[in-house]
Each structure stands twice: as C-alpha cells, then as structure tokens.
C-alpha cells in the first residue's frame, strides 16, 4: 500500500513550529508595507499590494493572542488561500517544506502551543521535532474567537 503523504510549509511562531498544507499556500513573501484598515480587529494588520492584488494580512501571533513582535529579517508573510479568499499570515519565520506521511500525524492534545484543538489538524513528530498543523478555515473564520488556553502562557 502506498503510504499517503502530506506536504507542509513549516513556519515558526515564538518557540513552536507549525505547518500548513502546501496546497493552501500560494507564496511566501518578505514583509512589505501594509496599509492599516480602520475598524477591524487588532490582529488584522491591513492590506498589502501583492503584485497588483490587494490582499488582507493578519498577524498570526496576535490572532492566537500571543504578543506581537516587530518585524525582522526572518519575518515572512505566508499567502494562503482557503475558501476562495487570499489572506497573508505574518509569521516569525518560514523556511522549510516537509513531507509527512499521514501516519506521522497524531491526534491533537487538548491544547498545543497554547492553541485550542479546534484550530488544529493534529501534531506531527519527526526526528524529535514537533509540528503543530493548523486548520486554516477555522483560523481564518472571523467568528471564531481563539482564546488562549492557560492564562499563564503569555506571561
């Protein structure tokens, strides 16, 4: 039997490594000027000019209730597409594409990296590294309030 594989784009937020299905990823961009959009949630950083298309950008740290970080050389914007929307996600770094076999993926514990299991597709352990797989549709659902599990986490 052919083992089913999954390609993920790996990125870093704080001290954890995360993955999103490569099929959802359009491109990985360096940080470029972002125009603030008034009266939007704090995690929405604004819109950017992505080769002529106006694309909304959200700060993933802020989306998960972590403290925001000023952009540095490693900061990247991952442009993802889900349910017909293009959205840019600001992450601390993005530098890897990995092949996972589905058997590497374990069901999510209650909380991983401080994020509720609702927003996760599971965790994968490879060579001692742990990847938290995000459920993009939930992460981008504006009606979802992603509360941090464990108030002490951010302190």
């Amino acid at each position: 039997m052919i083992e089913q594989e999954l390609k993920i784009v790996v990125f870093r937020l704080k001290d954890e490594e995360y993955g999103v299905n490569v099929l959802n990823v359009l491109s990985i961009e360096r940080v470029s000027p972002i125009t603030r959009v008034p009266k939007t949630p704090a995690f929405v950083k604004g819109v950017m000019n992505l080769r002529g298309a106006v694309t909304p950008v959200i700060d993933l740290r802020s989306r998960f209730g972590m403290k925001e970080k000023t952009a540095d050389d490693d900061t990247r914007i991952i442009i993802v597409n889900t349910e017909g929307m293009d959205v840019g996600l600001i992450v601390d770094a993005a530098n890897d594409v990995l092949d996972l076999s589905l058997s590497d993926i374990e069901p999510t514990p209650e909380v991983a990296g401080g994020i509720n299991a609702r927003y996760l597709d599971g965790v994968a352990k490879i060579d001692g590294r742990l990847f938290i797989l995000l459920r993009l549709d939930k992460v981008l659902d504006k009606n979802e309030i992603i509360e941090l599990q464990g108030a002490a986490y951010e302190v």
């Binding site: 125009t35 603030r36 819109v47 002529g52």
Partner: protein, 656 residues
C-alpha cells in the same frame, strides 16, 4: 457538422431575436394592423428557425416554424390579430426562451412543444375554414411566392400578357429532360419564364411525370406560343391559361410584400444595417482589456511620480504624452464597455403586461431614454433591482381600475421608466401615477416592526419617512402577494444598488403616485479621486462625492451639541475629522491651525471632512478588499504610484 464553435453565437443571436420578437409582438398588440411590425417578427422568427434547424435543435425549429406559419397568415391578411393569437405567441416565446436558456446552460434544448404547435396550427385551420369561400383565382396565386406574385403583377401592369402553360409530353418520350429543355429554350426566345412547376432543377433531373407547368410572361399571342411549342417533337399537348391582373387588395399586398422582400434580402447580407461595420467581441476579452488597462493606469501613476521626482525635461515630456494617450485610451475602452440601458429595459414591457394581467390592473409602461448608456457591469447587475421596483409599483402603487375611476383617474395606470445622464452618473426613475405612499401607514408599520421608536416616529417627515421603506424587515403590503412583498423587501434593492456604488431614494405624493430614483456610477472600476492625508496615512475620496475643498480656521468652527459645525455657503454643515473617524494613530495632538476640509455630499446632505493635507487628484483603479475584511467605511482600495495601497473612503457611510 460540428456546431460547438458556433454555439455561443447561436445563443447570443437567438436571445437577440427572441427579444426582438417579444418587443414587436407587444407592439403588434397595440397596433394590430401594422404590417412592418409583423414583418419584423416574421423576419426574426424565420432567422431563428433557420439557425436552430442548422444547429440541430429540432424542437426549437419546429415551434418557430409553426409560429412562422401563423405570422405568415397574418401578413397575408388570412388571419386577424386576436387576443388568443397573441397569447399563444407569447406562450410560444416563453417556450422558446426556455429552450434557448436550456441550451445556454449546457442542456439539449429539448422540450415537448407538440401541444403548442397543435394550438398554433389550430389557429391557422380555424381561420382557413372561415375563409373557405375565397375565390379560386386567389388559390391559384397562392402557389406563387410573394416575389413571383409581384413580378407577375408588374408585368401585367406594363401591358404584358401572362400565361400559365401546361406542357404535356408524349408518353413514349425517352429524353424528357431534353424535350423540356427545348420547351424552355423556345419560351425564352418569346418572353420571360417566371416559374416552372416542378422547379427547373427537378425537371432537369427528369423528376416529373408527363407534364409540367410554366408561368410565362410575353408580348406574343397565345396562338404563336402554342404553335411554337407544338413544333417541338414529342410534345403532345400545350394548354395556355391567361393570368388575370390581381385585384387591388392583392396588388397592395404584393407591393408591400415586395418591398419587404427586398429588405429581408438586404438584412441577410447585412445583419445590422444601422451599424454595418461592427464585429462581435466576447465580453471576456473586453474584461481582459479592461484589467490590462487598469494595470497600465497604476503604472502610469508610478511613472508620473518618478518623473516628478527625477525632474528631467525629456522624461517629463514623454510621461505627459503617455498620460495623455492613456487618458484617451481609457475613454475609448470605457465607451467600448458601455451598453444602452435598453438591454435591461427591453424585457420589462413584457413583464409588466404579464403582471398587470395577473393583478387585474390596467397599466401602460412608458420607457424613456432607453438609449442612455452605462457600463456593462452595472447593466448586468441593475436588472433585478429594477424588476423589484417595477413589481412594487405595479403591486402597491397602481390601484385597481375601479379604484382609479372612483378617485377620478383614468382607468389605466401609467408607469414611467426613465433613464438619463447627469454629470458622472446615470439616473433611472420609476414613476407611477398610483395611490402614493401613505406616510402614516409607513410610520405605523415601522413602529410595529420595531424599526424605529414611537418617539422618533413623530419627528420624521417627508422623505425621511419614505426612507423607512428601505429598512430591513419592512413590508407594507397588507396582503402578501406573489408579485412583491415577499419579505425580501426594498432593503435588498437598496443593498444591491449601494453595492454598485449607487443610491436609491423615493418621493411620493398621496393620491398622485410615487417616484423611485436610482443613481448609478457610469463605470465601476476607474474612479477619479482626491488623495488626502490623515496622519501618515493616505486615503482616496472619490470625486463624484466631493462638492469642493476649503480651508477652515479654528475660530470658524461652531460647536452644536458637542458636534463641530461650520458655515459653508450659508449652510451650517457638520464637520468630521478623518483622523478621529478612522481612528488614525496620531502623534501629539496638532496645534489648532487652519485645516483643509473636503466638502462631501450624499444626495442633498452635506458634510465637511477635515484632513491633514490634500495631496492631489488622481485616477485610481478600484480593487475590492475581498471577502475576508469587513471594513465598514471603505468601498475598496487602490494601488498608488509608489506601490502602496490606499483605501477609498465610502462617503455614504459618513451620513448614517
């Protein structure tokens, strides 16, 4: 034949023809004896039949054929235009439309049309019986088509003699075609052959029995012809029947038919006689052209910026030229995308007719300014809201005939649909001469539905009351009818129109009727705008919403109930700080000095928007923000010359 590549053209043209038939049948209803109208219908039906037959849509072809027969009956004066006839034409049109739609949607265009064809044929037969006693000569002439009939008529008029000659060949004749050929040859030396039965083609192939008929125009005597023909061997018998001049009514018919025949032929060579040199371009290509041009506009902005920074005379001159040319290009592309609003309006007469019948009301729809042009994209979207408003006028506006007579109006109500340009916008008005809107009823309903409180209801007057009609969850119809008032009320209309960058308002006078006015932008994607500064941010304000810009001194600002106001041309208008409104992050509060104000309007309401600076005017390309963001005060975004994104302010939201 592989017809797939013609399918798009077929669908497009079929729709056009159906629309034309629809319009003309409506006309026919008003002027049943108008021959030109019938000709127009006949022509469209005929083309449609031909097209669908060659595309292999038999049901479509059969039904149009049956229609064609009926139409032919009308134009030959055999049939009278009756209500029953018109109704069955309309039903046929509905069927045809359904079939074409099915084909457009990828279906096979099949439909059971037997019953309908039966009805159409029934109309023909019924009438044929009525006319059973038409004279025999008329029957004779019916074997000629219009062209032949008119040719015969003309010759007879010029003093020629006409004969219908029956030529019978000898039974033993072996080479019938050769003999027939000799007959034709002999006749051609004596005059003109109008027609042969069977056709010359069939005769040549010997597809006839012992005899054939020739209709012949000559100046020779019958005896000469007879002897000439009998001199050909193996000819057994020649019978000449003289043709009688047509009766005057037939003459008239023949002439008219002749004139029409000519134009039919013209139109075949030249399907659009008015604009002979046009080509069809698919809408996708135009859209592509537009989006390419939008890219160009963005780069033009960038070039202008660079040139102003570099300050090189040669570069500046070139950039100016490029800008000028691209402005011309822009105008051209935009006009290419413009379509007459008639494309939207043309289905309404039919719809109103149907609805009026259903509602047992008498309504006359008057269309004005159908030639007014607007962007295709707007035209595509505006149909539904207009349908809704028309239904609304028919259902709630126009009273039933008894009611109208009682209130001293004519039995027949009038709905006027009017389009016109004004400035950079298109206006569409829907006006009825019905009962008008009962303001008290509207207020009661609004309070009852919890849209406004009883207290605020008392303060509202005039237009403000009618505005309530557009509030979500409002419906004034006392009886929920099929036509309108199905809960998806006027708020849906308002939303749709606003999403197109337009607005809708209503005015009404009790007893005299109501007018709904829709305002729409001429085009949606390239907007002249004023760029303004707020803090470190740049925003674009669309020029159509701007009245003018001004400067205001701090001491001229009046505080009224904590709301800053200013005096502007004798009018006290509210002032809104863009920075506060859009929560622009600010460094230390600026010292109060003279500030720039952009005076904006929505309908007849004005407001002043104070900004930190005016940057200048620029054509910007509207880009949607996408579904993800829900930004209430922003109608879109634009990419500026430096590649940054600027948000476009939705001035309408300033007035809520």
């Amino acid at each position: 034949m592989d017809t797939s590549e013609y399918l798009d053209i077929f669908i497009e043209e079929s729709k056009e023809h159906l629309q034309s038939i629809n319009q003309h049948v409506l006309l026919l209803e008003k002027q049943p004896e108008e021959l030109a109208t019938i000709q127009e219908i006949f022509r469209s039906a005929h083309t449609l039949k031909g097209m669908s037959a060659s595309m292999g849509y038999d049901d479509l072809a059969n039904l149009t054929h049956a229609m064609e027969n009926v139409l032919d009956g009308i134009r030959n004066g055999k049939l009278h235009v009756t209500q029953q006839l018109l109704d069955s034409l309309f039903v046929s049109l509905d069927h045809l439309e359904e079939m074409v739609m099915s084909i457009a949607a990828g279906g096979d265009g099949k439909k059971d049309t037997k019953e309908l064809i039966h009805i159409l044929n029934g109309i023909l037969e019924e009438d044929a019986q009525d006319k059973a006693q038409t004279d025999i000569r008329n029957e004779d002439f019916s074997s000629y088509d219009e062209f032949e009939r008119s040719a015969i008529h003309q010759f007879l008029e010029q003093g020629f003699l006409g004969y219908r000659i029956e030529v019978t060949l000898d039974k033993e004749c072996l080479l019938k075609a050769v003999r027939a050929y000799m007959v034709f040859n002999a006749l051609e030396n004596l005059g003109d052959i109008i027609k042969s039965e069977p056709s010359a083609d069939l005769i040549e192939r010997e597809q006839f029995n012992q005899s054939f008929f020739v209709t012949f125009i000559t100046q020779q005597e019958a005896a000469t012809i007879e002897s000439e023909l009998l001199s050909i061997s193996e000819i057994k018998k020649v019978t000449l029947t003289p043709l009688q001049p047509l009766s005057s009514s037939e003459q008239k018919k023949a002439v008219e038919v002749d004139a029409q025949k000519g134009s039919t032929e013209d139109s075949k060579k030249n399907p659009q006689p008015k604009s002979a040199k046009t080509i069809r371009v698919s809408i996708e290509r135009l859209d592509l052209l537009m989006s390419l041009f939008e890219e160009l506009v963005i780069d033009r902005g960038r070039l202008e910026r660079i040139s102003s920074e570099v300050k090189n005379a040669a570069l500046q001159e070139t950039v100016e030229r490029v800008s000028r040319i691209s402005s011309d290009l822009q105008e051209l592309i935009l006009t290419m995308r413009m379509v007459p609003v008639d494309q939207v309006f043309n289905r309404f007469p039919r719809m109103v007719r149907g609805l009026a019948k259903d509602l047992h009301k008498k309504v006359d729809l008057q269309v004005e300014g159908a030639e007014t042009e607007l962007d295709r994209m707007v035209a595509d979207e505006i149909g539904d809201p207009l349908v809704h408003l028309l239904r609304n006028s028919l259902d709630h506006g126009i009273e039933d005939p008894e009611h109208r007579i009682r209130s001293g109006k004519s039995e027949k109500g009038t709905i006027t649909l009017k389009a016109y340009h004004s400035g950079n916008r298109v206006f569409i008005e829907i006006k009825d001469d019905g009962a008008g809107i009962d303001a008290d009823k509207v207020l009661n309903r609004a309070v009852q539905k919890g849209i406004i409180s009883e207290n605020s209801a008392r303060t509202l007057t005039g237009r403000h009351v009618y505005e309530l009609l557009f509030a979500p969850g409002f419906s004034t119809a006392e009886v929920i009818s099929d036509i309108s008032g199905r809960g998806v009320g006027l708020d849906a209309v308002k939303n749709k129109i606003e999403s197109l960058g337009g607005s809708v308002s209503v005015d009404s006078k009790a007893g005299e009727g109501s007018t709904f006015t829709i305002q729409l932008p001429l085009n949606l994607s390239i907007i002249p705008s004023l760029l303004v500064e707020a803090g470190t941010e740049t925003y674009a304000v669309p020029l159509p919403s701007i009245i003018e810009t001004a400067l205001v001194d701090p001491e001229d600002i009046i505080m009224v109930h904590k709301q800053p106001m200013m005096d502007f041309r004798g009018k006290v208008i509210p002032l809104v700080s863009l920075n506060d409104w859009l929560e622009v992050p600010q460094e230390a509060k600026l010292e109060e000095t003279q500030r720039a104000v952009v005076i904006v309007k929505k309908e007849n309401k004005w407001a002043g928007l104070t900004v930190d600076g005016l940057i200048g005017q620029q054509e910007i390309v509207l880009k949607p923000l996408g579904n993800y963001l829900d930004a209430p005060f922003v109608s879109g975004a634009a990419i500026l010359g430096d590649g940054q994104v600027a948000l476009i302010i939705d001035c309408n939201s300033l007035f809520i």
